[in-house]
């Protein structure tokens, strides 16, 4: 059972963080015209390291406990440093956000590909092919 838990590797957490990052970027794009809105982004490295940190993860202290899904660390949100600030105090630069969103979508798909490979590997092992 342990083998199945660990077989997905770091990609399981990476996928969660990347989905979260897409959400934050979607928030920026949604608020492109909101006065005084400050664009934010996720520091992937900070969140990922926090997720890997054993202290923040739930501990199974009894053999009857289910393996608990690790929750994402809420920290790691950073304000974006804009090239130019709009008159109304908004720091969302649409072109920058579009580029980031496109790249984040690509990153998400990359992680998905890794996961698909792992899943097909497990499937092959189960079928005994």
């Amino acid at each position: 059972m342990n083998l199945l838990d660990q077989s997905l590797g770091i990609h399981e957490q990476a996928l969660q963080i990347k989905a979260r990052r897409l959400e934050v970027l979607a928030q920026n794009i949604a608020n492109a015209d909101t006065p005084n809105y400050k664009a934010r982004d996720i520091d992937f490295k900070a969140v990922f390291n926090a997720t890997q940190n054993v202290d923040t993860a739930m501990q199974a202290t009894n053999s009857g406990h289910f393996a608990a899904g690790q929750t994402l660390n809420p920290d790691g949100m950073r304000f974006r440093t804009p090239f130019n600030i709009a008159f109304d105090g908004n720091t969302v630069e649409m072109t920058v956000e579009q580029a980031h969103y496109g790249k984040a979508a690509g990153d998400y798909q990359a992680t998905l590909n890794f996961l698909e490979n792992r899943v097909s590997g497990i499937r092959k092992a189960i079928r005994g092919e």
Binding site: L15, A26, I29, N31, T34, P35, G102, R123
Partner: protein, 141 residues
């Protein structure tokens, strides 16, 4: 699941941009509206956006945190145009009527900006939908 939230967030933005475009349409329709007093003159309406940052600002349980909403509709501050037109039935005792302060050029720009922002959010939804579909396909790998 964070990908779900994108639909809610971009949805609030679509809603807000549509309200903004409605305000623009109303302004353009009233570009030539006259009034008998300065107070009654039509003033251009502007939708003022506000970020949904707090859980309490959102509907219970709905994943809209981080989205946008219309905080209020504000009147354009520029003064109405005073036109001398004594033959106009609305004219005051000095023969003046008050034309709305709508600038057609500003409204066209506003309309295009709203349309662009709307398109951006539609693209966000499309990308999120594709990623979601691909994630579902993981079971077929």
């Amino acid at each position: 699941m964070a990908l779900d939230n994108i639909f809610g967030i971009a949805g609030t933005a679509l809603n807000a941009q549509l309200t903004r475009m409605n305000a623009t349409a109303s302004n353009l329709a009233n570009a030539g509206t006259m009034a008998g007093t300065e107070k009654e003159a039509f003033r251009a309406k502007r939708a003022v956006f506000k970020a949904l940052v707090d859980e309490q600002q959102t509907h219970a349980g709905a994943p809209y945190v981080g989205g946008v909403k219309i905080s209020h509709i504000a009147d354009d501050a520029s003064p109405p145009v005073k036109v001398a037109d004594p033959k106009n039935p609305l004219a005051d005792k000095d023969g003046y009527v008050y034309k709305s302060n709508v600038s057609e050029v500003t409204e066209m720009v506003e309309m295009m900006a709203a349309a662009r922002s709307y398109q951006n959010n539609v693209e966000v939804i499309n990308t999120a939908r594709q990623l979601m579909m691909r994630t579902l396909d993981i079971s077929k790998a």
